[in-house]
């Protein structure tokens, strides 16, 4: 079976700084892949490249076997199939939570409010946000905002979800409620790629963990291998510091 998402020799640089340096990765349908590594290792850049928010210089990004990184490929088509959630939530502050989630289905899929509202309200219910739907982002806690951002991405019924350090801007006591949402998604069979600093979560929930350093995947494997028996020195020293 072909991989859902496949990266081949993905290379991206800003000027002289190479942020992704020949990354190869295969992600099966329904897998959760966690990218770990120090800040600046290239985790966020990799996610932004997959969502075509950045153009890559070399390599291929295959979604269901189709190269979506071909120059000229319509990025809108890709982005409505690949959802992305950001570290800083990036909710639209001038809209209620519900309108945030309904905007893309209305504009991109051309649906009416009435058509999509039941489905999206159900998402709010499912993620414990039923009483927050009509509030504006600045009336919500960080954890609630981040869950709304996830609902907003899910409203497009994406096939793959990318999460860019989505708990890094949260107070420690709010991290749990967001990670719970990720587990729910995993149980539903969503294909997910996470850049994260939550080592305990990666160890418990990931199917594959990739350790990145200087824009390269130094080591990848199941969490048991990466966390308990890392082969590379770089992985060992990173984990020694991260797990302290």
């Amino acid at each position: 079976m072909n991989a859902k998402l496949q990266l081949k020799n993905l290379t991206k640089s800003y000027g002289k700084t190479t942020v992704c340096n020949g990354i190869d990765l295969e992600i099966e349908q329904g897998q959760m892949v966690c990218l770990i590594g120090a800040s600046g290792a290239g985790k966020s850049s990799l996610l932004r490249c997959i969502n075509l928010l950045e153009d890559i210089e070399e390599g291929e990004i295959l979604l269901d076997g189709v190269d979506i990184s071909t120059p000229g490929f319509d990025p809108q088509k890709v982005r409505s199939r690949i959802g992305m959630v950001f570290q800083s939530f990036n909710l639209f502050p001038h809209m209620t939570a519900l309108d945030n989630a309904m905007l893309a289905p209305r504009r991109v899929l051309g649906k009416t409010r009435a058509q999509i509202r039941p489905e999206i309200e159900e998402l709010f219910h499912k993620f414990g946000l039923a009483d927050r739907m009509h509030q504006f982002p600045n009336q919500l806690s960080g954890g609630q905002q981040q869950r709304v951002a996830i609902v907003r991405a899910l409203a497009m019924r994406p096939e793959v979800m990318l999460f860019d350090e989505i708990t890094s801007a949260l107070d420690p006591q709010l991290v749990g409620e967001v990670l719970d949402v990720l587990l729910m998604l995993k149980n539903q069979g969503m294909t997910m790629v996470l850049a994260t600093h939550e080592m305990a979560f990666a160890r418990e929930a990931a199917d594959v963990v990739c350790f990145l350093k200087d824009g390269q995947i130094v080591e990848q494997g199941p969490p048991s291998q990466i966390f308990e028996a890392p082969k590379q020195n770089a992985t060992q020293s990173f984990l020694a510091r991260a797990l302290k």
């Binding site: 932004r48 969502n51 928010l53 990025p75 809108q76 088509k77 982005r79 409505s80 959802g83 992305m84 950001f86 800083s88 990036n90 909710l91 639209f92 502050p93 001038h94 905007l103 893309a104 504009r107 991109v108 951002a149 907003r152 991405a153 497009m156």
Partner: protein
Amino acid sequence: MRSTRYKKTNRRQAYEAKRRRRSNIIAAISTAIAAAFLYILVPLTPGWSKVKLSFFNWDVLVKTFPKLLDAFLLNVMIFAWSAPLIAILGLLIALARNTQSPALFPLRIFGATFTDVFRGVPVILTVYLIGFGIPGLGLPRPWNSPYIWGTLALVLTYSAYVAEIFRSGIESVHKSQRAAALSLGLSERQAMRDVILPQAIRNVVPSQMNMLIALQKDVSLLSFIGPVEIFRQAGVFKSLMANFTPYVGAALIFLVVTIPSTRYADYLMARQMRARE
């Protein structure tokens, strides 16, 4: 903080209340002294009696004020139909300057030239050139009216400024908002319309209020090419009565309108500062 006001005051609050009272008393005394000095000193100047007669003549004011108000209606009308035009044209110019596609390069150039030219020329000069120049083409009525072309001059000049303010508003919206919109599958145009512009416009409301206040006053510049608005009407009275009081009356009428709008703009600005904290 506010709710504690109704509770029994504690030591800190008593101390602060005492300090407030003290500073209020000091402010009142110093204001009284300053006013007394002005009241005593100004009339001592050699020309005061003449100035009083020619600028602060109550009889002249009473006689001319109703006509000045009538003339001010014309200011209000010109203001009322140029303000929306300025808002629309300003926004279009801002968007034109913000386009990305190579096919729209002429539009970008046009936007940049437009703002450069109309911000670079004094308003009164634009009013003269357009207000006299275009009717000079010998157009039939009503297209030779200085009202129309004078207003157009104002609209063009103010659109240039307003466009720049809109542009700064667009740039003030964080890039991550665009990224979030695009990541959901929205096109650049949809991201601009649904996500960036609504925030940008809200961010610049106080600045645009200031432009409105300036416009209220600059409508008077049209008096130089014909329309008998309040400034010109005051000038007519000045010549008739050989007295400057009508100008003071006109100034008072302007202040009645501009001071509340200025205060309102300040209020909006302060509210926005608080919201950003």
